[in-house]
């Protein structure tokens, strides 16, 4: 793949924390730290900006699409969860729950058939919803819940907390059916409990559960190593552990499972450090990587399996004290959204 160059880089004026393609591949949407949802029309080799969507608060932390209906689900750090159409310049809101969670709603998951959605948050709750916003089930956990996904059959919600405890919850029977331990994804340093978990996903048709994030070393100016764990979902056995780089490389912030059987992960570490890693489970090193992507926050795989987008961060995003632009204004950092194309097979 080297050197991997983006087909197109869409500029933004704010930092993005999540991004996903619509199932028809026509729209890329992401959440920004100014409470807006940013969207682009996806052309073959270009992203054309659409009007941003307002109505959220804090950070827009998660975006998900219904697999069949023209609905986009978004969530924010104040607990709002909403559904709206997405293809129009002025979408229609289907429903909005201002307090779906008490505060930071971290992630949304949706079943492959679109029958259920799940959400999790800092309020330690895991909730299941119908696509029309009706509450179906609730599990009150005892820790901040960082990540969530559905089992491929849509029967179980798998969630992971700040201490690296992972649980499978049969939400119909309201029963925890399995638990997995990922202690490497947690460390207490001084009075900081460092949560290393960032994302959960299934692999190989549901045989493996992926838990990705970081192995924390030190808190505050956090130092930690990108880490990907793969558990046998049936037995709970840890089958693969992948780590990459050094403590400056930080977190695997997001990943996508490619239909060809590998994992596409993006990292964000010390300012300026960010990578795309293509990982075959069981191999010690990434089989390909791209390193010129400062502080990647999200990766979205296009339904064509060929293109993908990465929301990274502008260079020189850090610095102590007063730094102003040429006009004397205090500038915000931004997230360039990079559209890539995987090289042709063979």
């Amino acid at each position: 793949m080297n050197p991997l160059k983006p087909l197109h880089v869409a500029a933004t004026d704010r930092q993005m924390v999540c991004a996903r393609f619509s199932p028809d591949g026509a729209v890329l949407a992401g959440g920004a730290i100014d409470g807006t949802v940013r969207r682009w029309k996806v052309e073959e080799k270009k992203l054309e900006p659409m009007p941003p969507l307002n109505g959220h608060h804090g950070w827009v932390t998660a975006v998900a699409f219904h697999p069949k209906e023209p609905w986009m689900f978004t969530a924010d750090s104040w607990g709002q969860f909403r559904a709206q159409t997405f293809a129009e310049d002025e979408p229609k809101t289907q429903w909005k729950l201002e307090a779906a969670h008490d505060g930071w709603l971290r992630q949304i998951a949706i079943t492959a058939d679109g029958q259920h959605l799940a959400t999790c948050g800092r309020d330690q709750a895991v909730r299941v919803w119908t696509p029309d916003g009706k509450s179906v089930a609730e599990h009150l956990h005892s820790e901040d819940v960082f990540a969530i996904t559905f089992s491929p059959d849509g029967q179980q919600v798998v969630f992971g907390d700040q201490h690296g405890h992972l649980h499978a919850w049969d939400f119909t029977a309201n029963k925890i059916t399995k638990s997995f331990e990922a202690p490497v994804l947690f460390k207490t340093d001084r009075i900081q409990d460092i949560a290393g978990l960032r994302v959960l996903a299934f692999f190989d048709g549901g045989k493996l559960l992926l838990a990705a994030g970081t192995t924390p070393d030190k808190g505050a100016t956090i130092q930690s190593t990108p880490t990907l764990l793969a558990f046998d979902f049936a037995s709970g056995e840890l089958k693969h552990k992948f780590t990459h780089g050094a403590v400056k490389d930080g977190f695997i912030e997001d990943l996508a499972v490619h239909p060809d059987g590998y994992v596409m992960a993006v990292t964000s570490g010390d300012p300026g450090n960010g990578k795309l890693l293509l990982i075959r489970l069981g191999e010690a090193d990434a089989f390909d990587s791209a390193t010129q992507l400062p502080n990647c926050q999200a990766i979205a795989l296009h339904p064509d399996g060929r293109r993908f987008a990465i929301a990274s961060t502008n260079r020189d995003s850090n610095g102590n004290g007063r730094r102003t632009d040429k006009e004397g204004a205090y500038p915000a950092n931004t997230s360039p959204v990079n559209l890539f194309e995987l090289p042709a097979k063979g």
Binding site: W59, W78, I194, A220, I222, P271, G321, R322, R323, N333
Partner: protein, 400 residues
């Protein structure tokens, strides 16, 4: 410079030493984020993911990460318009804790050393400047600056008493007294040929440590009701603030408590989500207890760092060092209750009102302790030195 020396006015010095005022100085090392604590800017470009919540004073809001402290706002004064100069830890910590007077070629004492000098150990005769901190303990003479090593801090690592604090049980009290008489005579002989500031420091520290030996109960929280311990929390900060409460109750003049790990250049928001509830729990508990016992009326309480954190969120979801517009909280004797002093702009980037540097805070703190920060001067071997930056003044709005 021992005894009442070191101050130009001996009469004023004697008067100050009658004071029953005490200080709790909570140092959040590395730089707490003002935006995730005292000066939230929710729903703005740099405001972060958290909401704000109302406090017990209508119109004043804190970050949602401090619900218990929000209930204490009626006892507190928050200054939101700190504008200091140094954005490096190494120099910033020194500058803030020494008050940054004009350069005169001598290192100024830390605030704790200055209070130990100005107000003395008080009736308790316990060490006047103690420091409860994670890690190792020991004596840190350099805090004393030009006042000399005698006024350095006595640090209790992890809040534990020094080793061998108690008299060896093999010794009777009489034998111990005889040993100390011998020690005193040897000290006198030793001191006759050496610079007095060092030998006095040795004797002084030893004498105050002997007083501490009588109060080993200060460090023992095992006899406290479990509920009381849990109110503070089982984490370092909770345990250390509980011991700080015991020390203040025992009469220690100045208690500094340090919490490390606030330098959140990476993952700032999850870090504050983890640490702020511990600060919220333990700091609100000690404020409640000091208020309930009436001790808050004679104790100046300060919670601060060397600077705040940048409004801009860096690529590692962190915030960097920001001395331009940040906050601190105060409570207790001499401090006006339930007020916010100063203001930052809508984005939290700059101070909108008058910006206050650390020199103004030193004047404010001295005023709160009943010390005239203009009339009182140090006598550094004949060189008169102001106790606070002479170009700055107290923050009147912060004073009761």
């Amino acid at each position: 410079m021992g005894g009442l020396g070191g101050l130009l006015s001996r009469a004023a010095a004697e008067e100050m030493r009658k004071s029953d005022k005490q200080v709790l100085f909570l140092w959040l090392d590395g730089g707490i984020s003002q935006l995730e604590s005292w000066d939230p800017k929710p729903n703005t470009t740099f405001g972060g993911p958290f909401r704000s919540i109302p406090t017990s004073v209508p119109g004043i809001h804190f970050s949602e990460l401090m619900p218990k402290l929000a209930k204490q706002m009626n006892r507190m004064c928050v200054v939101r318009s700190l504008c200091t100069k140094d954005n490096a830890h190494s120099s910033g910590v020194e500058r803030i804790q020494r008050g940054d007077p004009k350069t005169r070629g001598v290192p100024y004492p830390y605030f704790g050393s200055a209070v130990a000098k100005l107000l003395g150990p008080g009736e308790s005769k316990l060490p006047p400047y103690v420091w409860i901190k994670p890690g190792n303990g020991g004596f840190r003479p350099e805090d004393g600056g030009f006042l000399g090593p005698k006024f350095g801090s006595l640090a209790f690592g992890d809040g534990k008493p020094p080793e061998n604090l108690l008299r060896n049980p093999a010794l009777t009290a009489e034998e111990d007294d005889e040993r100390n008489e011998l020690r005193a005579r040897l000290n006198e002989r030793y001191a006759a040929h050496r610079a007095p500031e060092y030998t006095e420091a040795n004797s002084y520290v030893f004498d105050t440590a002997r007083e501490l030996m009588k109060r080993a109960d200060i460090f023992d929280t095992s006899k406290l009701p479990e509920r009381e311990v849990q109110r503070y929390g089982s984490h370092d900060l909770g345990r250390h603030l509980l011991i700080a409460r015991n020390m203040l109750e025992a009469g220690v003049r100045f208690v500094k408590v340090t919490s490390y790990g606030w330098d959140t250049h990476g993952d700032n928001f999850n870090a504050h989500a983890s640490m702020m509830p511990k600060l919220d729990q333990s700091f609100s508990a000690i404020l409640e207890d000091l208020a309930a016992s009436g001790q808050l009326d004679r104790t100046l309480v300060i919670a601060m760092s060397e600077f705040g954190r940048t409004p801009r969120v860096n690529g590692h979801a962190g915030r960097d060092h920001w001395p331009e517009a940040w906050s601190l909280a105060m409570a207790g004797c001499g401090i006006r209750k339930g007020v916010v002093v100063g203001d930052t702009n809508e984005q939290g980037t700059w101070v909108k009102s008058d910006g206050y540097d650390i020199g103004s805070l030193f004047h404010t703190w001295y005023s709160a302790l009943g010390i005239d920060s203009v009339a009182t001067e140090y006598d550094n071997h004949g060189q008169p030195l102001p106790i606070a930056h002479e170009d700055m003044k107290p923050i009147k709005e912060a004073l009761a």
